[in-house]
């Protein structure tokens, strides 16, 4: 077993990997202050949290194609031990992103809450993000083992909504800037390629069996 595989099998290591991105904004705000970040620190945090949520969503969805394509590869076995943890982390970052948006847009003036909600539900760009978040919320709530038992055969179709959430998140991220940001391609491009390869492999396997 290689070192990387050993590390990735460890829950502690994965926890650290998931928490670190959340701590990163502390560095340019408090550690080594960066004027372009301090100009609007909350916006930096807002974008960073959304960015991290998108990455984790793409990463956790890549686990299944990895397992289908390379079932005997140690790394793909190791990461698939942490499907629930990484998925819930994606939801947590999305929730923090939404909470930051509310603080940013209201400036803590809660009389603005209604207006912020009205804007979020009438601008397609924001509504799409909100729907993606709602899906992740439903998936996080139904992620404990007892919920899996409770839902039985309905659990899997429900959790396939994660793909819908990813597509919506990709659109939301692309529309967040004035010009199309290439990071959307870097984040979701590899996932799309893996999914295509996985579907082809599964067809091959099915044809081999019949």
């Amino acid at each position: 077993m290689g070192l990387l595989e050993k590390l990735l099998r460890s829950k502690v290591v994965v926890w650290i990997l998931l928490v670190l991105p959340g701590l990163w904004p502390l560095w340019p705000i408090f550690g080594w202050p960066d004027s372009s970040v301090l100009a609007d620190p909350l916006k930096f945090v807002l974008h960073h949290l959304g960015f991290t949520a998108c990455i984790l969503l793409a990463v956790v969805l890549a686990f299944t194609p990895l397992r289908v394509l390379w079932p005997k590869w140690g790394i793909s076995q190791a990461v698939n031990r942490h499907r629930r943890l990484v998925g819930v982390a994606a939801f947590v970052y999305a929730a923090l992103h939404l909470a930051t948006h509310v603080v940013y847009e209201t400036g803590l003036d809660w009389s603005q809450l209604g207006h912020v909600f009205q804007v979020a539900t009438t601008k397609p760009f924001q509504l799409v993000g909100l729907i993606a978040f709602t899906i992740l919320l439903a998936l996080a709530v139904t992620s404990p083992t007892f919920m899996l038992r409770l839902l039985g055969k309905h659990w899997k179709p429900l959790h396939r909504l994660a793909y819908v959430a990813a597509a919506l998140a990709a659109y939301h991220q692309a529309a967040a800037r004035k010009l199309f940001p290439m990071q959307v391609v870097w984040i979701f491009g590899p996932l799309i390629l893996l999914e295509i390869a996985r579907v082809l492999r599964q067809r091959q396997n099915a044809a081999g069996k019949s």
Partner: protein, 323 residues
């Protein structure tokens, strides 16, 4: 009568470090300042400073710093939208100070005018009668705002110098084109050169301003050296940077952002809290460099608070359609 003579050890008042500067500067700021000072000296010796003409300028009492709360210079010069040097806010400060030369700089005034001009920016400042300081609000279409102490001259003075013909209805501004030293231009993130335009009556409004300085210094490259347009009642993207050509035309010029995405950015781009951007609200704005991390939002004002000066330009115009 007592006439006081200065002792030779006495320094002029201007040499005294202000209490505020003394208190806020920590060791890192000091190191930064020394570093910038050294870089500044190196730049000056190479003759790379932008337009120095007319500096220092006197404050125009109609637009004083005391009426607003100017944003710290550090933020004005570190948080920039200047896509010629990258789309991220921190990029222009780095990339616009690498290979790009803003001195010497020639400006051409042309089109439907009786007196076309082609001259160095410092000569233009002289012909315009020198410069003054004005503290203006600055509102970006991305829903953030600053307060900037600009140095420069009213655009109306330049219009008067050019003596436009009666057929001139619009003013078209064109920025520089130099993909070799502007990485954003070579990456083609927008169609370059950047173009902006005003109606001629907007250009002659008392607020329309050509800035050549910020905080009493030549305007930094990342803010649009050596001269840029400032129209404080409009969104920031109307304030075209690093102008090389000003052309008087009969037809409405097509400005860059309108051409790129006309459904979101129009010709007028007047600050208007009642007309939303398709993707976000324009009712309020984030204050750049606010001292409060969480409470840093304020309501956006009609015409960015300059309704008194400019509202009459738009009587009868549907501002919802002409965004």
């Amino acid at each position: 009568m007592f006439i006081r003579t200065k002792k030779d050890w006495e320094l002029p008042e201007s040499a005294v470090t202000s209490e505020q500067a003394y208190r806020t500067h920590n060791r890192r700021d000091f190191l930064k300042a020394v570093g910038l000072g050294a870089a500044g000296a190196a730049l000056a010796s190479r003759g790379l400073l932008a337009a120095t003409g007319g500096l220092p300028a006197k404050e125009n009492p109609a637009f004083p710093a005391s009426a607003l709360n100017p944003t710290a210079e550090e933020f004005i010069t570190s948080y920039n939208n200047f896509y010629e040097f990258g789309t991220a806010k921190e990029q222009p400060k780095v990339l616009a100070n690498r290979d790009w030369k803003t001195e010497p700089w020639t400006v051409e005034v042309t089109g439907l005018v009786d007196k076309p001009l082609k001259l160095d920016v410092n000569d233009l400042i002289k012909q315009a009668g020198g410069i003054e300081e004005r503290v203006y609000r600055h509102r970006c279409v991305e829903a953030w705002s600053m307060v900037v102490p600009w140095d420069g001259f009213p655009l109306a003075k330049l219009v008067a110098l050019a003596a436009p013909k009666s057929t001139a209805k619009f003013v078209k501004f064109t920025s520089f084109l130099d993909p070799k030293s502007a990485p954003g231009q070579s990456s083609g993130n927008l169609d370059y050169p950047y173009v902006e335009g005003l109606r001629i009556d907007e250009a002659m409004n008392e607020l329309a301003f050509i800035a050549t300085g910020i905080y009493g210094k030549p305007i930094p490259n990342q803010n649009g050296a050596p001269l840029r347009l400032v129209t404080p009642w409009k969104y920031g993207f109307k304030g075209i940077k690093s102008i090389v050509k000003i052309e008087f035309t009969g037809n409405e010029p097509i400005n860059t952002w309108k051409q790129m995405q006309g459904s979101e950015y129009g010709f007028y781009a007047n600050v208007n809290p009642n007309v939303d951007h398709p993707r976000w609200s324009q009712a309020s704005e984030q204050i750049i460099g606010s001292t409060s991390l969480l409470r840093s939002r304020q309501p956006t004002l009609m015409f960015n608070g300059y309704e008194k000066q400019v509202a009459s330009l738009y009587t009868g115009l549907d501002l919802r359609r002409n965004y």
